[in-house]
């Protein structure tokens, strides 16, 4: 929910940081309304990565020479930045991965293969992104654990009154839930679900891919066990994400990927593993990407996550109002109070692909599809939706262009 005391951010000024906005599409900058899928990158991040490659680049950790030291400082500095972003008790609990998806796979494999078996239950939600759904479904099927879901209501909100029934046979070992739904924008009550999971003796794995870019996150306040996030959704480069994990759990787990860097000693018949976090970072990591991830976090925290949240909240409210005026548009998802900067909708009788195609010709980029949430689409009774999503560089004029574009869609195909 918007914190109305945050400093308002000045999009007009911030937009100057984003080179992609100089690109014109039909005489105007592209109205990029697909930030939930991936965000654009500010100069500050691109400059930092370039400087790193030009002046500080070498492989990390083992080099004795100065260039390798600088590279290691850059890489480990980024770990510190991520730890601060999520308020991790220790930097050792931050593991760099390729993406939020890989972060969750790491937990599903390394924790799941070791801790799940027949008689155990894995719980996910009906609106979960495939990233926090399919790995668990796979590991459940491999280990023989049951796979159950928390259902949603018609507004796309989790039905917490279903929890008792799920807990009935006392078999839940892990609960997997996203902070913010990437399809509907629903802000899920993760603290409550976490407390409930812990009552069952289960752990909770939180997908923060869609939340970390837009609102402050505190793993200690959330009291969760694992939390996944991604760089490319918060102004950072692709190819890097992070997992935070509770130290005691990470220490008990076997590794996931194996190879260089994650070992203490390797022998023909016995191998032992390195300390945290290296135990989970096999091979040459995404070094420059980590540095860029750190720069992106500096960029968004410099603006202020509370300010970003409020800006998006206002834009979303505006978009819901404007779209709500069109009786041939059906909005999915919860009311503005429990919604992040995402608006999914249906244009009566017109397929989302056609909507997005025609909008593109109007210089408006939106996403059409299942948004990697097919079980949710099934629940909503559609194959796909059209989705507009906002970030710090989004402005009200782009919402107007979306609405104008939808009129054109209807005129042409309605």
């Amino acid at each position: 929910m918007a914190v109305t005391t945050a400093n308002p951010l000045d999009s007009a000024v911030l937009r100057a940081d984003f080179p992609f906005l100089e690109e014109l599409s039909g005489g105007k900058p592209l109205a990029y309304l697909d930030s939930a899928s991936s965000t654009q990158k500010p100069r500050q991040v691109l400059d930092r990565m370039r400087a790193f490659y030009e002046h500080e680049y070498a492989n990390v950790h083992r080099g004795v020479y100065k260039l390798a030291e600088r590279a290691t400082e850059g890489y480990e500095g980024a770990r510190h930045t991520v730890a601060t972003l999520v308020n991790a008790p220790s930097e050792r609990e931050i593991i760099f991965t390729r993406s939020a998806t890989e972060s969750i796979n790491l937990v599903a494999y390394a924790w799941g293969l070791q801790n799940l078996g027949p008689g155990d239950t894995v719980v996910i939600t009906e609106l979960e992104h495939h990233a926090n759904f399919v790995p668990w479904q796979f590991i459940a099927s491999r280990t023989g654990a049951a796979f159950r879901h928390i259902p949603i209501d018609d507004a796309g909100e989790l039905q917490l009154d279903a929890l008792d029934d799920l807990a009935r046979d006392n078999s839940i070992k892990v609960v997997c839930v996203g902070l913010v739904s990437n399809s509907l924008g629903t802000i899920n009550p993760v603290e409550k679900i976490g407390a409930w999971a812990h009552e069952q003796g289960a752990i909770i794995v939180v997908d923060a891919a869609q939340a970390a870019p837009h609102r402050p996150i505190d793993v200690q306040a959330l009291d969760c066990d694992f939390l996944a996030l991604s760089s490319h959704k918060l102004c950072g480069p692709t190819g890097i994400g992070a997992l935070w994990g509770r130290r005691a759990l990470l220490e008990e787990m076997a590794p996931f990927n194996l190879g260089g860097e994650m070992i203490r000693s390797v022998g023909l018949d016995k191998t032992t593993f390195n300390e945290l976090p290296y135990k989970f970072e096999a091979g040459t990591p995404a070094i420059a990407e980590a540095v860029g991830f750190g720069a992106a976090i500096d960029y968004i925290t410099g603006i202020g996550l509370a300010s970003i949240e409020q800006h998006e909240h206002e834009l979303t409210r505006y978009a819901m109002e404007r779209l709500g005026e069109l009786d041939w548009v059906r909005l999915f998802g919860p009311p503005i109070e429990r919604r992040a900067g995402i608006v999914s909708f249906e244009v009566a009788g017109i397929h989302p692909h056609d909507v997005a195609q025609i909008l593109d010709w109007e210089g408006v980029a939106v996403r059409a599809g299942h948004h990697c949430t097919q079980p949710l689409m099934t629940r909503l009774g559609v194959a796909a939706t059209t989705r507009a999503s906002f970030y710090l560089y989004s402005i009200a004029e782009e919402v107007d262009r979306l609405v104008d574009g939808l009129h054109k869609v209807r005129k042409n195909l309605g």
Binding site: S141, W361, A368, H370, M377
Partner: protein
């Protein structure tokens, strides 16, 4: 010609708004369904043969965009009277020529969904070769 008119040609809109051969044949000799993984669209294609493996008629149903619906509709006309074997090795270009519009890789998937599913149906009933992109489903997950 505007971008809209280039892609949503009259013939496309016509097939989209009044699809030919719509509905699942009953009885039928073969039926298959398939999804476009990029957007979740689904199509079901049914076939009836005569004289062994000559396609007598095709009927389809599903949900998808104008391009995928129109392309599948056009396809059902195109393949009538051909043998299963002929259709199994039919080049995508033949259908694309018929459609006659510029398509990006993503929209190409829309246009070719029906053709892929038809080939799966032929494969299942007549053992004809599967198209490349329909051959890698090993490891499907089922849970209880």
């Amino acid at each position: 010609m505007s971008e809209f008119e280039q892609m949503y040609r009259e013939v496309i809109l016509d097939h989209y708004k009044t699809p030919r051969n719509h509905g699942i044949l009953d009885p039928n000799d073969a039926v298959a369904e398939g999804q476009n993984p990029l957007c979740g669209d689904e199509v079901t294609v049914s076939v009836r043969f005569r004289d062994g493996d000559i396609i007598e008629s095709v009927g389809f149903e599903g949900r998808g965009c104008a391009i995928s619906q129109a392309a599948t509709s056009m396809l059902t006309d195109l393949v009538k009277g051909r043998s299963a074997q002929e259709v199994a090795v039919m080049q995508k270009e033949e259908l694309l020529d018929e459609i006659g519009i510029p398509l990006s890789p993503v929209r190409l998937k829309c246009a070719l969904l029906g053709m892929g599913v038809l080939k799966v149906a032929l494969h299942q009933s007549k053992g004809t070769p599967l198209p490349e992109e329909w051959g890698t489903s090993s490891g499907d997950i089922s849970v209880n």
